[in-house]
């Protein structure tokens, strides 16, 4: 998987310092609205007339634009982790450059500027670095507004995914993002309807799960067949597991993704293992099959309850990244964990 590395101890320190510094002025994850604009990851985004030409980076950024009904404004898009949701697939026509689509690499800054966007939405902070499209301050200077999903607010503008602030990973932060982005795109009504739908999906699911016993769930991937990386307490995956009636087996591990050895997975004895499939517009859940087969065949893991009982499941990476899919992700996972309730 790409630039989504975990937090290093040094950046933890930086994050703590940053939070300490920011508490005086409202906190990074808040979205206070004012006449001048909306604060997103410490950057003030003006709330003037809605943008007409949007560039969206990363799966969650792209789908949010479609879900808010601004897909017709999309001039460029980069990185889909999985196939788009069917309801947006018809609008997505890269063959006709609607939008221009960059599947693998960062389009160069020049290439993006040639699309003449007036707004950039990104699902991960890597887009807003010197190696990506430039920092958000630089984009602001040339008249391009921007929005970043707040679970990936960097410690400071221009820092990458390895250097995140101590962000709120609850569903509320996702709802706040969609509401805030909706407001910036002139789609407040759509945003409200979307958030209401998501809340209802989550409430319906939770309603069915009253009193269930909670299996221990580990969410992990294994890029390139190498090391195991588990999603920790600093990732929305933890929120999704808990809302779906599970206990996060690695909830005490801070940060988003943490490399662990096979022995640590054995020690944690997860009842269920979930493997998100990634990365490409044609990579469905089947993309996780190779990792799943590897786990099932590993003789060292044979006693781990999830492996022993055949409870190793594939999901899409897109649904466990903060965005419009999270509510359905909770419903899906709940069905896998508690099939008898549905």
């Amino acid at each position: 998987m790409r630039v989504r590395a975990r937090r290093s101890p040094v950046s933890w320190l930086a994050a703590v310092l940053a939070v300490a510094l920011l508490t005086g002025c409202g906190g990074a994850a808040e979205e206070p609205a004012s006449a001048a604009g909306l604060t997103n990851c410490g950057v003030t985004v003006p709330t003037g007339p809605p943008p007409a030409r949007i560039f969206a980076a990363f799966h969650n950024g792209i789908e949010a634009v479609y879900a808010l009904g601004a897909g017709d404004k999309l001039v460029g898009a980069a990185y889909l982790d999985n196939p788009l949701l069917p309801e947006y697939a018809a609008q997505f026509q890269p063959g006709r450059k609607k939008p221009a689509y960059y599947p693998e690499e960062y389009p160069s800054r020049e290439e993006v500027l040639r699309l003449d966007p007036d707004f950039v939405v990104s699902g991960f902070t890597g887009a807003f670095t010197a190696e990506g499209l430039g920092t958000r301050a630089e984009l602001t200077k040339i008249g391009i507004g921007s929005y970043l999903f707040t679970q990936y607010c960097p410690a400071a503008d221009g820092k990458d995914q390895k250097d995140l602030a101590d962000n709120d990973v609850s569903l509320d932060s996702v709802y706040r993002d969609l509401t805030g982005l909706g407001r910036l795109l002139g789609k407040s009504t759509e945003a409200q309807a979307l958030v209401d739908r998501m809340r209802k999906t989550v409430a319906d699911t939770e309603g069915k799960l009253a009193g269930v016993s909670k299996p221990r769930v580990a969410m992990l991937n294994r890029p390139g067949g190498g090391e195991l990386r588990v999603f920790g307490g600093g990732d929305v995956a933890t929120t999704i597991i808990e809302k779906a009636g599970g206990t996060q087996a690695f909830g005490d591990v801070p940060g988003r993704l943490t490399r662990i050895g096979t022995e640590e997975l054995i020690k944690r004895r997860p009842d269920v293992i979930v493997v998100p499939a990634c990365c490409g517009a044609d990579v469905g859940p089947a993309g996780a099959q190779e990792v799943i087969d590897g786990l099932r065949k590993d003789p060292a893991l044979a006693n781990v309850p999830a492996v022993r009982d055949g409870k190793v499941y594939a999901v899409t990476f897109a649904e466990i990244t903060p965005g419009v899919r999270n509510a359905d992700a909770i419903a899906n996972l709940a069905r896998l964990l508690h099939p008898e309730k549905f």
């Binding site: 890029p223 190498g226 943490t258 050895g261 640590e264 003789p299 893991l301």
Partner: protein, 321 residues
């Protein structure tokens, strides 16, 4: 003495880690197997990674001795002469172009790359007047490393998925190979060891300088080719087993020289025993310092190896080869 330390390091590698396993519990894996988690950890995780540490370590240590003797260059090592870089490039090619996954497939690519790069560097270094002088070999190696490394970087930047797969492997870790891969590697290592042993006399003669060696009647070309072949086989296999682990092949020969003196018939066995000690110690350290994470052995050798090497250079005035 050194062998006893190696035995201790190997036991430590089986018993220490994410959780400490008692001697009795570990032995139970073979005496009365019950399929428990502890026994599975010993059998499928700890023992294979210990074997990889011993085999890859010994191969890298001996390979370093061979290359330093061959080039009469105290700073020679698989990483200096382009052998590592060649192995790394072909493995990346294997992943990108041929879609090879897993270490069983990488062995062959690594092997071919080490051999090609070694042969290429040797050919380049032997061209022109004076034949394969140490300086020309080292220069050719440096040029090849830069060129091959550039190609590898270009390939990995072209394809993000490849880069992820490569990044894990490129640091070097003892956890990648399972029993089947280890079994595949053993015959190669045996061939490499045989070649290394048969080049001992030639390396001793080379240490006296080309002219003196020639006057002593040593077959210089044959000796050099044997030693180079041994280095390629050993490095290629070690890289396939554990990735291009840095500093072991460069540093351990100096430790061996401090203990055993300059004669290659002693230098080689000492390096073969010392290098696994270093590698296993690095691996065990990596398991316990950052729990629940594990640092890959290659990271630990790089961090611990660099200052150690600087100290060694300053103490021993390297120009003695």
């Amino acid at each position: 003495m050194a062998v006893a330390v190696l035995a201790a390091a190997a036991s430590g590698s089986v018993l220490l880690g994410n959780q400490t396993i008692g001697v009795r519990a570990a032995l139970g894996t073979w005496l009365h197997p019950d399929g428990s988690d502890v026994q599975r950890i010993v059998e499928y995780l700890r023992v294979p990674r210990t074997l990889v540490g011993i085999l890859a370590g010994a191969a890298l240590g001996v390979s370093g001795v061979l290359l330093q003797g061959l080039t009469r260059n105290a700073l020679a090592g698989p990483e200096v002469l382009g052998v590592n870089a060649g192995a790394a490039l072909t493995v990346v090619l294997g992943i990108t172009v041929f879609g090879v996954h897993g270490f069983g497939g990488w062995v062959w690519f690594s092997f071919a790359g080490a051999a090609l790069a070694g042969a290429g560097v040797y050919t380049l270094g032997s061209a022109g007047r004076g034949g394969a002088t140490p300086v020309k070999l080292a220069l050719a190696g440096a040029a090849a490393t830069a060129f091959l490394g550039g190609l590898t970087t270009a390939l990995t930047l072209l394809d993000i998925n490849t880069f992820t797969a490569f990044r894990y492997w490129s640091v070097g870790a003892l956890t990648s190979a399972d029993a089947a891969v280890i079994r595949t590697a053993v015959p190669f290592l045996a061939v490499g060891a045989l070649l290394a042993v048969s080049s001992v006399r030639a390396l001793d003669a080379l240490a006296l300088g080309d002219d003196l060696a020639r006057s002593l009647g040593q077959g210089l070309i044959a000796g050099r080719v044997t030693a180079a072949l041994a280095a390629v086989v050993l490095t290629g296999t070690a890289v396939a087993l554990a990735g291009p682990i840095a500093f072991v092949g460069l540093t351990v020969p100096h430790m061996a020289r401090a203990l055993a003196g300059p004669a290659h018939r002693w230098l080689m066995p000492y390096a073969a025993v010392l290098a696994p000690i270093v590698l296993l110690a690095a691996d065990v350290l990596g398991r316990v310092v950052a729990r629940p994470q594990e640092l890959q052995a290659g990271i630990v050798t790089a961090i611990a190896g660099a200052p150690f090497f600087v100290a060694l250079v300053r103490r021993r005035k390297l120009a003695e080869l």
